[in-house]
Amino acid sequence: MGTRALVATFGFDERRVLPALRLLAYDELVLLAGRDSVKAPGFERLRALEPGLRAVPVDPFDLRACLDAATATLRDLRRRGHPARVSVSGGTKILAAAALLAAFQEGAEAWYCDPEPVRLPVLHGVRIVDGLSDTARDVADFLRAPTTMDRLVARVAHCGFDGRATRAAVRELVGHGLAELGLDGGKPVVRPTRILSTYRKHFPRPGKA
């Protein structure tokens, strides 16, 4: 078995993190922590206990930044072959929500240890993005502004997808609320939704997990 990593959210009080450290076995510890948190005495006390811990500084009140950092951390650990668990007992509620969403996105086990351990029910390795086909991910990548279906089919054809596959992918995106279909001058038009704009950067391109 490879090195096991524990990713924990951290605020100022190390006591919120210690139960997870005691209950969840790990070889590598990564703390997602506010920039001020890593200068706090609580962090120093944790470092005294775990000299090898790595801190990833974030703005704990910026949900997008926290989500990006948590997702990048989990992807990096997976790339290095280290299965990761996430503990969201410490830090701000925004940081905890972002870390939890990142765990769902990346198929990582998520825990609350406050102090009793509660594991959130997810299946290891099942990522949110797996719900989308490769074609849908490619189409989503192209779909950055309203475009006619014909133009979209022509653009995606460079990736080797025929018109039928592209239309099926568009229907898939519509089903997930990531795109909308309409008519403009009698021609079918595909529009990206706001959710797609938010979501696009969070799904790795096919084959680049």
Partner: protein
Amino acid sequence: MYHSDHAKSREARAKVIEFTRGLGVHATAVELDDAFNLLEIAERMRADVRRERSAGATVRFNIAGGTRLMSSAALLACILEGIPATYVHDDTYEEIPLPLLRIAYGERLTPKQREVLGFLVKNREKSFTETALAKALGVHKATMNHHVRELGMRGAIERVRDPDDGRALLIRAAPGMELLLG
């Protein structure tokens, strides 16, 4: 609107209801028996969402309020049901849509794995060794061993020592697996 039985939470509920009344918007408040029981809250929220949807309502969730566990339960319900979720920032009031899609976890298991897990969930109060499980579901021991290993790798089951026989391992569904199969 979900809230705990804490006095402050009830006070806030009254204010929100008064505010929405002023806007002419109907609000329903749900007081949670235990605002710290994540799985129970997620189950409740999911049932409510399904009921609203079957009545034709469009549902979206703001997960910013409540306890940390309530927010997490809401996030889980959103992922299981594919509901758009937003986080409205406390200070800036910015509405941040969360990038999530529905995950049909049950569909990521093979039919046989689903059957094994469903059986364990339905019989939570009983204990099964791998052999007993194979017998109960009418499959060969080696086949059951394969399914159990796969489910174990997914984190869907737990193996615990049999208190009556130190050499035997008992298998049970991991907490909350009902939610993934439901």
